[in-house]
């Protein structure tokens, strides 16, 4: 009898201690989690932010409390073009022609594969153009807690150069109170004029909401040569591995009109928000061109290779919210200073990072959030009652 009472008391004490201890460990669940990741080869980024950003081999995934999505494309024309196609009801077709796949959860489709983009044209009996999707494939998957995608090409000629075996991956997760984002952009074979690079890999991973926020970002450039002379690339430009050859390297690049430099990677973590970027290898071309009237144009074309960015954010739900939320800075996209504006010289590296602005729309009023924790606590209390029911019954029978 006494042993039973002691056992019941021990069980009750353990349950109480655990219940008291758990809410602290579960504080991550009180955060609104958001994560996004992007890996891409940015081409000719026009300096109109935030979204006029044509890209190749583009993979972007994002997750928030509203859902998850992954948009992966062999060629991404830019947000404005995409929105134009959407407005005129042509988004699905336009996207397949560009090798774009988009998966969403919970709306669906939860799986998309743009490798099949030839099929509609074949069925219509139309001639098969040289579609971007034929050069590679893009796949996207989305679940309630995670989204991931990949875009690949075997070979892509850009007129000024050739890219081989480019792969962009991105993935995000919001599981157990932790938001993570990962992106990787790899190219195995770059050839632009005298410049050859065997491999470029940009990688970034971020995590927030757990015990310690983490962010890792890095860029590897392997086997860079100019006219066969081994070189290294840094933020200042190209350095010949053999110093006496520096002049020949500079001459070769100058005559081909190519400028090459590295964009630094960065890692940032503060106030529940982490972000990182691998930076990338920025190639700029200065072709001497003229417009239709023969007037010389100062045009710079830029390509950012190995660009991977990711950001994750955990915002406490209980935090007081202002009535009107201002736009908040959530991270910065990889930058390249490239302009197509006639008569305007290329501007050098930006002194401050570009800021991607996004407005958070809060659809739930503070304090009115309903969840199952109250019901669960009631169940635990009932369980307590049951555990004590037997000793109480015994005590009552003796009274």
């Amino acid at each position: 009898m006494k042993r039973a009472r002691v056992s019941a008391a021990v069980i009750a004490a353990v349950m109480l201690c655990a219940l008291v201890a758990l809410p602290a460990g579960a504080s991550g669940g009180d955060n609104a989690l958001e994560a996004s990741a992007r890996a891409s080869i940015l081409v000719g980024t026009v300096n109109v932010q935030p979204d006029l950003d044509p890209a190749l081999i583009d993979s972007r995934s994002s997750a928030s409390s509203l859902g998850t999505t992954s948009l992966d494309s062999v060629a991404y024309p830019s947000f404005l073009v995409d929105a134009f196609l959407f407005l005129y009801g042509q988004q699905a077709n336009g996207r397949s022609l560009l090798g774009m796949s988009e998966a969403r959860s919970p709306q669906g489709p939860t799986h998309a594969d743009a490798t099949l983009s030839r099929a509609p044209l074949t069925k219509l009996g139309l001639p098969l153009p040289d579609l971007p999707a034929q050069l590679g494939r893009s796949v996207a998957d989305a679940t309630p807690d995670a989204a991931a995608g990949q875009a690949t090409i075997a070979t892509q000629s850009l007129g000024v150069g050739v890219l081989n075996n480019a792969i962009s991956d991105s993935s995000v997760r919001t599981v157990s109170g932790v938001a993570t984002g990962e992106a990787q952009q790899s190219i195995f074979g770059v050839s632009f004029g005298p410049l050859d690079i065997k491999a470029i890999r940009g990688i970034v991973s971020v995590s927030v909401g757990g015990a310690v926020p983490s962010v890792h970002a890095g860029l590897d450039v392997i086997g860079a040569t100019v006219n066969g002379m081994p070189v290294t690339i840094d933020t200042e430009g190209v350095r010949a591995a053999i110093a006496p050859l520096q002049q020949q390297v500079d001459q070769a690049l100058r005559s081909s009109g190519i400028t090459v430099r590295l964009l630094d990677s960065f890692q940032q973590s503060a106030n529940g928000h982490v972000s990182g970027s691998s930076g990338g290898v920025l190639l700029q071309f200065h072709p001497a061109t003229a417009d239709m009237l023969g007037v010389p144009r100062d045009v710079t074309l830029g390509i950012l290779l190995g660009s991977a960015t990711a950001q994750a954010q955990a915002t406490p739900i209980a935090a007081p919210l202002p009535n009107v939320l201002p736009s908040v800075a959530l991270g910065r996209p990889p930058t390249s200073a490239t302009f197509f504006v006639p008569g305007v010289s290329a501007i050098g590296p930006r002194s401050s990072p570009l800021i991607e602005r996004r407005t958070i729309i809060v659809t739930t009023r503070r304090g009115s959030a309903t969840n199952a924790r109250g019901a669960y606590a009631a169940l635990v209390l009932i369980a307590f009652g049951l555990v004590f029911f037997r000793p109480l019954l015994r005590a009552a029978s003796r009274a």
Binding site: L22, A26, N371, Y376, A383, L386, V387, F389, R390
Partner: protein
């Protein structure tokens, strides 16, 4: 530690009850931990039903078995007492019916 199988067989209700209680407590805390990690009510519901209601059911079953064991012990004890009383009654009756017993 050597487990006496015969003893365990004799108290199978108690053993099963404590196993059910332990499993119920585990289910409750596992469910609570999972629920606390989710912000959306829709994602919390499966844990509420599986961990919460499941754990509650196991604990109710365990407590029920313990009470059943208590009742069984009480019944055994009552039966033993009844048998002893009957035995005493028989002995008393035999003693009273013995010749000369009243005189002593």
């Amino acid at each position: 530690m050597k487990i006496d199988i015969g003893k365990v067989k004799g108290h199978w209700r108690t053993v099963l009850a404590w196993l059910a209680l332990a499993a119920g407590a585990l289910a409750l805390f596992g469910g609570w931990f999972a629920v606390s990690g989710e912000t959306l009510a829709a994602k919390q519901l499966p844990y509420l039903i599986s961990g919460g209601l499941g754990g509650l059911g196991l604990i109710a079953g365990g407590v029920g078995l313990l009470i059943a064991e208590d009742l069984r012990e009480e019944r055994t004890r009552s039966g033993r007492l009844e048998a002893e009383i009957l035995e005493v009654r028989d002995l008393l009756r035999a003693f009273l019916e013995k010749p000369g017993a009243r005189a002593s």
